[in-house]
Amino acid sequence: MTSDSSFKANLKNAFSVFKWEMKNRVASLAVYGILLATLTAIALTLCLSFAVNLGTEEAFPRSALIFQIASSYCVFLLTIAFTIIFTAGNYSYLHNKRKVDMYGSLPVSSTLLYLSKTASAFLFSIIPALFFFGFISTVSLVLGQPLVNETIELYVHIIIGTAACVAFYGLLAVCCGTTIHTVISFFAISISYPIALNFIKSVVNAFYNGIPNIITKDNFIINALNPVRAYSGSNVIYWILFSAACVVFSAVLAKKRRSDRAQNSFANFLPAYAVKLILSFICGMGLGVLFGSLNVMLNGMLGFVFGFLLGSVTAYIIVHLIFYKNFDGLIKTSIPFAAMAAVTLAAVFVCNIDILGFNEYVPPADSVETAGIVYPKDIIGTVKTVPQIASECSDDFSDAETVKEIIAIHQKTIDEFKRSAQKKFSNVWYNLFLEDFDDFIGSDSYCIGYKLKNGTEVIRHYRFNMLNYFAEADSGNYYASENILKEMINKIVESEQYTKNYFSIECISQDMLRSFTLETFNYAGNYGGKIILAENEKVSAEKAKEDCRKLYDALKKDNANFKKRDNGDINLKLSVSYDVENADKGSGLLSVVTDSIRNEDLERIFFTEDSVNTIEVLKSLELIDSEGELNTDSPYFISNQKSKR
């Protein structure tokens, strides 16, 4: 038999095994299908009854939207649950001696058998989901709520997530001797890897004050070994490559796998080492940072070393006992652990002594070409990372006086940190747990950037919260210190140049524009409404767009001639509504929900008597009258009663 015909025969046999697997899984698939069908039916019944009871014109599309979102997420979650069950069952042919006898003697190569098992685990999970997503989309279309793209997007997330999880589980299954070891390894790596990376990130951020956070929580490096994150729909390319790499690597390992390892510890010790090292690392870091922050042994670093060794050695032994059931090989397999511990301790020591002087470095004034300082919250209209913001602001000021002021702010910040430098370990906890919360509640931070004469760029990012935390140790001048720093920063932030640079309309392109809103400041004398420059029953979309463009151009012209002054007699408040560029809005259907809650991104526009072009356009469009008050006869005017949504 030629190798080509042999391969075809082999492929045919693998397909036969795949078909047979399908037949043997009919009962589980039926349970899965019935559950999905029942949940979909419940969602549809409830939504239709609400629509019928409300009896309004809008009720059916709104109910259809709720049905679509509720049922799609039921299918999504149930698919994830069944993927876990199917996948664990599917790869048990590697872990059960009786199954090994059966499958091992079948005339199918081990590689193709593995691939057919992978394909069946993947298809078991996504085909029923495809059917139900199709059904949900059809019902929604019939009911007049065609969010087909959003449903497809969610389905794509299921495909990517399922592929990543099945492929990663498959890789671990080939390496492990038992299903329980595979499951432990899968969850241990998926959960502990992001924690380990966050510990590393937090230590760097805590020990190097002002270092801009390059790795955000959605960065693929943080989630690289956590395939469950693939269901979120971010980093799609990475997850496709990850899945492909896992399948190829597993297929190679499957060919070499010793089948007699079934119901034994491991066929390949890679996952065992990975789990042991990652778990011992995070346990060591946890206890080490705790001891370091409590300053045990009267020295943070010594406390860290003691805590790290205590935590990591204990975790290492426990995981070894879970995997191997005895102490055999504990010492022999400890070389990677010893290397990890040595590298970690050395790295933390190097960070602690700040060997390069990062924390205290302030560029000398005569070496600075340009410099800048910015509150990241002032950057609107686009999603930029902190390093990008800091880098862009480094061009803002070139005059020697402002540059000196920025350097003084930088120096003052460093002095604040120096006053409580031994608290570095406590700051790891802040970076680990509170940083995201700070971002969520919008705590203040500021970026400093320099362009040096030698072409080098220096960027820093500091949070007021961190300064406050450190300053707490010297509670005497807690507020004074913070206020002095804020005053120094505000002097620049309130400058004409800064206001001009970060004027909202300069950050928003015409394509991002949605509408302008004009209201009065003085509510006591308002006219019971506001003007929204957007398409409505009286104004076409084209006309509204053209009017928005005119106002936009006028605002830009005025900003070019901007002079800082008070609002004066202007009793008008202008806001712009816009789309955010490069924003990760999460999954499609979810973004529909959040969009309907959030409505729009609004930004207040600074508006003075000097804004002559703007005032002229407002008048020419008859949005305001000659007295500068809102024109209630404008087709854009919406009375308060109507404007309630």
Partner: protein
């Protein structure tokens, strides 16, 4: 033809098969016997391509078997505990084997199903141990393998079914030249079926012999004296493997034919003498005793 050269397979520190070499001609039935943990099941798994050898080689008709789908297509392995899914039936499993094994015979399948009293559509997992064996036999023989490997196949089968199995195997060997290797502790059944016996202990092949020749090699002899002759070495010149004395009566296991030892025994002037061939089980116990695997030593 199966050729095994210096085959070794270890599990951690345990060497299950140790530098084993043998050849099995096509159309023969080989019985693998041996102590518990002797390496019989491991050898069958190596032969059927379930396990890869640590060293040495196995070729079947000149082809290595491990990871060779084409070569595996003409072999069938019935393990000591066959795996069946919860909803597996004979029919359902046949649907897989029909696609996988090129020699699958529908006619043979139908005929075997009519011979064994098991339901084709009954769940195998719910059947008794013996009936599960019957299901395995039906499926195995329906694939019409050139090489059939069976582990403890008689376990759980009633005497009638054992007889039927032996008859079917012999028929299939005669019809298609099938080669069969059976590992079993049921030496009585192997005695009837096998034309060759291999004895494995601690992974080493202690004995590899034609079954009839093996039986002819040993004799169980009872000799009674009115008075035991007062000579230095009573059975000198006779190849005695085992002696058990009860008063004036001696029970001997002697290696060799009657012609070799009868004249010497008769020269001792016994009052009673009888000689008969050893059963396979007696040979097994006797041979294993030579290697220290003896119930008296165990006790």
């Amino acid at each position: 033809m199966i050729e095994i050269q210096n085959l070794t397979k270890s599990f951690d520190k345990v060497c299950a098969v140790n530098n084993l070499s043998m050849a099995v001609d096509s159309g023969s039935i080989v019985g693998l016997v041996g102590s518990n943990g002797g390496g019989k099941s491991t050898l069958l798994r190596l032969l059927s391509g379930v396990f890869a050898a640590d060293s040495g080689s196995i070729t079947i008709d000149g082809q290595t078997l491990y990871n060779n789908a084409a070569a595996k297509g003409v072999c069938f392995f019935v393990p000591d505990f066959p795996f069946y899914y919860d909803r597996s039936t004979i029919n359902n499993t046949a649907s897989l084997y029909r696609d996988l094994y090129p020699n699958w015979s529908e006619q043979r399948f139908a005929s075997l199903c009519s011979m064994f009293p098991v339901g084709k559509n009954d769940k195998i997992i719910n059947m008794s141990k013996g009936m599960q064996r019957q299901a395995a036999i039906i499926l195995a023989l329906s694939t019409c393998p050139k090489y059939l490997f069976m582990d403890e196949i008689f376990d759980g089968l009633d005497p009638v079914m054992r007889l039927l199995l032996k008859k079917l195997v012999i028929e299939q060997v005669a019809d298609i030249g099938m080669t069969v290797i059976i590992a079993s502790h049921n030496l009585r059944e192997l005695e009837d079926l096998c034309d060759r016996v291999c004895l494995l202990h601690n992974g080493i092949l202690l004995l590899d012999s034609d079954a009839d020749a093996l039986r002819g090699k040993f004799r169980k002899v009872q000799v009674a004296f009115s008075q035991i002759p007062q000579v230095q070495n009573l059975f000198e010149g006779i190849n005695v493997v085992n002696v058990w004395q009860n008063g004036n009566v001696f029970n001997l296991t002697i290696k060799g034919g009657e012609a070799d030892f009868m004249p010497r025994l008769e020269a001792l002037d016994p009052v009673y003498i009888s000689a008969m061939p050893l059963s396979l089980e007696e040979i097994f116990i006797s041979e294993m005793g030579v290697y220290g695997y003896d119930v008296r030593l165990v006790l």
